[in-house]
């Protein structure tokens, strides 16, 4: 018996030496350890052995079997690893080839800038409102302290639909609409398209503005500056500063033009800011008490500020776009730059 076991072990070892693939090893396992395998056969011969010797040879046979199993398992692992390595190597691809996917489209730079403003302002507690583009003269001008045939109308060359209906020349008419409908505290921004009879390298007959309106008790020029400075810092960089210059708008008093430190050169002076270090970005002011009163808000109790910023101007600064007309040419090669 001992001899038989030694013989089996020797022949197994010889065959194991030759087997290298997972398949060959499996075949070997079946032949030695399988249901009809070598060990099963030998096991059957145990019945011919004397009863007292059975435990001894039984253990001997089992030990040999366990040993073979271990060796097989060991070699199996190695073989599997080797095979996987070979497969992965064979499956190697050129990862520099293009991906298989539908190409993404893009969002217009004007919409991108609008979305940035919307995010900044909503985080400051502002509501977003929108209003009609074809607007009554009454809202666009009269409630805003610009009567008919007033010289201030020269500032905004207007497209007329009828004597009383215009294409809004600014987003400010929504100021009036909001104040007529809502009680203070009011904090809204109003993005939208506006129209003026104008067409050259820096003016488009249609452009987009965001209007801002805050009405509450104790609103001052300092609040206006703080609010706009926060927005410019978030929009450009934390180092951005702003400055006020006196100006005139019929619906605000005092009125200011607002410059921010040039985001390109940081205020040192460059081509974009024409060497001044400052870029004019918007007009603003303290709400004229006449406008508050026109809109049914008691100007002896409440005050407020308003501002209007041109999206094209901000986008031109933000992206370094030299000519306003590029926005409306809609060349796919331009648009795809804004994926």
């Amino acid at each position: 018996m001992q001899e038989t076991i030694d013989k089996i072990t020797r022949s197994f070892n010889a065959e194991l030496e030759k087997a290298s693939s997972v398949a060959e090893l499996n075949e070997l396992r079946v032949r030695y350890l399988g249901k009809n395998g070598v060990f099963t056969e030998v096991m059957k011969s145990l019945k011919d052995i004397a009863k007292e010797d059975k435990p001894f040879f039984g253990k001997l046979l089992n030990d040999a079997r366990v040993k073979i199993e271990e060796v097989l398992q060991e070699k199996d692992k190695t073989a599997a690893k080797e095979e996987q390595r070979a497969r992965l190597l064979a499956e190697r691809i050129d990862i520099t080839l293009p991906g298989v996917s539908a190409e993404a489209g893009s969002i217009h730079p004007l919409s991108k800038v609008k979305a940035e403003f919307a995010e900044i302002f909503t985080s400051l507690g502002f509501e977003i409102k929108e209003g009609p583009e074809v607007e009554l003269d009454f809202f666009n001008f009269q409630l805003l302290n610009i009567p008919k045939d007033h010289p201030a109308r020269d500032m905004q060359d207007t497209f007329y639909i009828t004597d009383d209906v215009v294409l809004r020349t600014h987003t400010s008419p929504m100021q009036a609409r909001v104040m007529l409908e809502q009680k203070p505290p009011i904090r809204v921004i109003i993005p939208g398209k506006v129209y003026r009879v104008d067409d050259d390298a820096s003016h488009s007959p249609m452009f987009q503005q965001i209007e801002g309106l805050v009405v509450d008790k104790n609103i001052s020029l300092c609040d206006l500056k703080g609010c706009l400075e926060t927005v410019c810092k978030k929009l450009f960089s934390s180092k951005t500063k702003i400055r006020f210059r006196p100006s005139f708008f019929p619906f605000t008093e005092p009125s200011v033009e607002v410059d921010c430190s040039c985001p390109l050169c940081g205020g040192k002076g460059c081509r974009i800011c024409k060497g001044t270090g400052w870029i004019e970005i918007l007009g603003a002011g303290i709400l004229n008490p006449k406008v508050l009163d026109n809109c049914g808000i008691d100007s002896s109790v409440y005050s407020g500020f308003a501002f209007g910023v041109g999206m094209e101007r901000v986008a031109m600064i933000r992206y370094g776009i030299p000519d306003i007309r590029i926005f409306f040419e809609n060349d796919i090669r331009f648009l795809k730059q804004y994926k």
Binding site: A102, E103, A104, G105, S106, I107, H108, A118, L124, G125, F126, E127, I128, E130, P132, V134, L136, F138, D149, H150, M155, Y160, I161, T162, L167, R177, K183, P185, K193, V197, M206, V214, D216, K217, N218, I219, S220, L221, C222, K225, G226, R243, R245, P246, F248, P250, E253, P254, S255, N294, G296, S303, F327, F328, N330, D331, I332, R333, L335, K336
Partner: protein
């Protein structure tokens, strides 16, 4: 407003450099468009005296002159025939710049050196009026009293510095030299020098002119003054020089005086020849219908009744405030005049000027607004000039017909109110100092400050106006940044419409479309390119009364024309494929629901908004190029719908601008929201596209209620579903949707169904197609048996057979 420095100095001492003054101007609220140094117009050009002339050795028509230019002697070759030894002439030396813009350098002419060039009137941009009797074709011969070496700028009187100041609409008083001077005085801490009027009035004329103002609303003040013994002649040099500096052509002393006063004080004036005033009456009235007047520009103007005119007993002599007539004006023979100094209502001037398409310096001033004090001041200044120029005698006192006007107006406020507006504390003393410096006399009584508002500051009405005066002179750098420190907290956030638009935008970009922005106005011809019938509702558009051109003259009722124009322009730039989208409004001139703002102030009447069109937010998609089809676009639209949390359905429908067999309406919850399809080949051609174009346009407005809804959780199935495929052969015209509808109705255990293949060709008879569905069956409470599924499939097939003659594909 052009303000020459030397003129400003008549009213205020200026001892700072122009650049410094500009800074102060800007910080006080006046943009400087340009600082023009007149001397910059001419360089290196001096007066020179010709000492000798010789014939050119190599050219018959040329002369070689020896010229003393003061600091040296130069040699100039010239072809001018009017030069002679001893003549003083302008010499442009090497490197010279002339007012005409010409640059001169030394050179050789036919082998003889020339150190520069003599110049004539043209190169100096001078006229016969500047140098009477000058030969227009020859060299300009200057007065022999001019010393050689004198800078020609001085000879031409180009020695001023002109500030071109941009004046905002709230400060009409600054459209004058005096107004600008007052601002300079305020920002530099100087006083304004007052006028000294020294003219004397002679006795009243025997038959004084009578003035009748019939419409005092349009003419609140009319002053008239007769001047006798008028001698019409050219104005003295300093008047001419100043007028030219501000761009006004000198005419004669009287006309120049009116223009001088207009510029200096801002009060437009007019001078009538007294003997041309018929009936010795000046009547200010509205024009009669179709009344005519020939204005100074020589044109006959037919007038509307709304236009105010200055008439004599017979006819209009002038369009009030806009332009005088030729018949009643000043001419060389004029010996008696009547000066007019009036205030006309600015809105009427503006309307009349527009209606007549006639603008003048005068109308421009009136439109901006002129205060009640300027008529008297202007008239006095004109009479003082008559006196100084010795060109007439003031005859008696002026006629002055005026409505009652508030001569003294005050504004009261507290320092605390001003500080509250500004957000910084400004003491009463500081406020008074600033206002008094501006000529606004302000006194304190307890906490109350009271300002006497000068008549020329009609813009100052309340504490906000005062706060602006204070801060613009203190400097806006005094304003500190505070982030709404005293304001109440608000919640903020975006409306559902804004959020839906944003989600649609992101979804469309995610689906491979690039966003465009196009003008809201289009050409009415676009409707023809879309093949719309004459009575198509889309043709009913909102028109712009004053468009930039016909191609941008109506508000679009459909976005497609703009989208197709984008495709066309990209094709012309050799972009072979692209996908575009735009989110924009379309406008239909239907009466909108009237929104009444009931909380309006009691005295504010909100007009009806029924006139406003309906504005509908719309999403338009276009695609062209390789691989694009109806189905790629439909897939994209479904994907966008999915990202909005919605599902669209489609129904075949014919549109004039779409391919008859490849077009559909898009529905949401059974409601029409737009169209999708392949663009009609004729429309495609009309836009010059060699490629097929696919387009869809849907209303976002109709999705706002349902888009981005919060979805309720649905529990996941506990039992497995069973998938089966079903391929049937049907007539080609049968739509998948019809088949699916029947399957859904028949199969009780069906969970979902989709089309995975459509086949025509071998083994399928002509006129038929095979369509293959993937079906999933599921029972919520147990696992289905094979028998149950087989039963379902049998029922489905039977129904398809009955409804469509469908056969199971073999």
């Amino acid at each position: 407003m052009k303000a020459p420095l030397n003129w400003l100095k008549d009213f205020v001492d200026i001892d700072i450099a122009p650049a410094e003054l500009e800074k102060k101007f800007v910080s006080a609220g006046f943009e400087i468009e340009e600082i023009i140094n007149q001397r910059d117009a001419v360089k290196n050009t001096v007066a020179g005296q010709i000492t000798a002339i010789e014939k050119h050795p190599n050219a018959d028509k040329l002369f070689v002159c020896t010229v003393d230019v003061g600091f040296k002697v130069v040699q100039i070759v010239t072809n001018a025939k009017n030069v002679y030894a001893g003549a003083v002439v302008p010499v442009a030396l090497d490197g010279a710049l002339l007012p005409s813009g010409t640059k001169i350098s030394a050179g050789e002419l036919r082998g003889v050196r020339s150190d520069g060039m003599f110049t004539g009137l043209e190169e100096l941009k001078a006229t016969d009026e500047d140098f009477p009797g000058a030969d227009p074709d020859g060299v300009l011969i200057l007065s022999p009293s001019i010393a050689p070496g004198t800078d020609i700028a001085d000879v031409l009187g180009l020695d001023d510095i002109i500030f071109d100041v941009s004046v905002t609409a709230n400060r009409p008083d600054c459209n004058s030299i005096l107004g600008i001077a007052r601002e300079i005085a305020a920002v530099t801490g100087k006083d304004v020098k007052p006028y000294a009027f020294t003219y004397q009035s002679d006795e009243e004329p025997a038959d004084p002119v009578k003035v009748v103002v019939e419409n005092q609303i349009l003419c609140p003040r009319y002053m008239a003054q007769t001047v006798k013994n008028v001698k019409i002649k050219p104005s003295p040099e300093y008047i001419k020089k100043r007028l030219k500096a501000v761009g006004i052509r000198p005419i004669n002393n009287i006309v120049d005086i009116t223009n001088y006063v207009l510029t200096e004080i801002g009060q437009p004036m007019h001078a009538f020849d007294r003997f041309n005033i018929g009936g010795n009456h000046i009547i200010v009235r509205n024009a009669k219908k179709d009344e005519e007047v020939v204005t100074l520009d020589g044109k006959t103007r037919t007038l509307e009744e709304s236009v105010l005119v200055i008439c004599d007993l017979a006819r209009p002599m002038a369009v009030a405030g806009i332009m005088g007539g030729t018949d009643s004006g000043i001419n060389v023979g004029t010996v008696e005049i009547v000066f007019e100094s009036a205030k006309f209502a600015r809105d009427n001037i503006r309307r009349s000027s527009k209606a007549l398409n006639l603008r003048s310096d005068s109308s421009a001033r009136f439109e901006k607004g002129i205060d009640f004090s300027a008529q008297e001041l202007g008239l006095k200044r004109a009479l003082q000039l008559v006196h100084e120029l010795e060109c007439g005698t003031v005859a008696g006192a002026p006629v002055d017909i005026a409505t009652d006007f508030v001569k003294e107006r005050t504004v009261s406020f507290t320092a605390a109110a001003v500080s509250k507006i500004l957000g910084i504390t400004v003491k009463a003393d500081k406020i008074m100092e600033i206002l008094n410096g501006l000529g606004i006399k302000t006194v304190q009584s307890g906490k109350l400050l009271t300002s006497d508002i000068p008549e020329y500051r009609e813009d100052l009405e309340n504490a906000n106006d005062i706060a602006e005066e204070v801060i613009r002179l203190m400097g806006y750098d005094k304003i500190k940044s505070k982030l709404l420190s005293k304001a109440q907290q608000t919640i903020g956030g975006a409306s559902n419409s804004y959020r839906t638009d944003t989600a649609a935008r992101n979804a469309a970009a995610g689906a491979g479309f690039s966003e465009t922005v196009t003008y809201s106005f289009i050409s009415p011809k676009a409707f023809d390119l879309l093949r719309l019938s004459a009575d198509d509702a889309l043709r009913n558009a909102v028109g712009i009364r004053n468009p930039l051109g016909e191609d941008v003259s109506i508000m679009r009722t459909v976005i497609l024309p703009s989208a197709l124009a984008v495709v066309a322009s990209n094709i012309s730039k050799f972009n072979k494929e692209a996908r575009f989208f735009e989110i924009a409004k379309r406008y239909s001139p239907k009466a909108a629901t009237v929104k009444t703002a009931s909380k309006a102030a009691k005295n504010t009447k909100i007009p009806s908004q029924a006139e406003l069109p309906v504005e509908e937010q719309t999403l338009v998609l276009t695609a062209y190029g390789e691989g694009e089809s109806f189905f790629t676009l439909k897939g994209a639209l479904d994907r966008i719908a999915g990202l909005l949390g919605l599902e669209f359905s489609y129904r075949a429908k014919v549109y004039p601008f779409l391919h008859d067999g490849r077009s559909a309406e898009v529905l949401f919850n059974g409601v029409h929201i737009g169209y999708i399809g392949e663009v009609h080949p004729e429309t495609q051609d009309a836009y010059g596209s060699p490629f097929r174009i696919y387009a869809a346009e849907i209303s976002l407005e109709k999705l706002y209620d349902k888009a981005l809804e919060v979805k309720k959780f649905a529990s996941l199935p506990k039992f497995p579903g069973v998938a089966r495929d079903l391929a049937v052969v049907v007539e080609d015209g049968t739509s998948a949707a019809e088949l699916i509808a029947v399957i859904k109705k028949t199969a009780k255990l069906l969970e979902s169904i989709g089309v995975f293949d459509v086949y025509k060709g071998t083994h399928i008879a002509e006129g038929f197609k095979s369509i293959a569905f993937g079906l999933t069956f599921r029972h919520p409470e147990r696992t289905l048996t094979d028998d149950e599924i087989a039963e379902e499939m049998t029922v489905v097939l039977a129904a398809l057979k009955k409804g469509f003659g469908a056969e199971l594909r073999k």
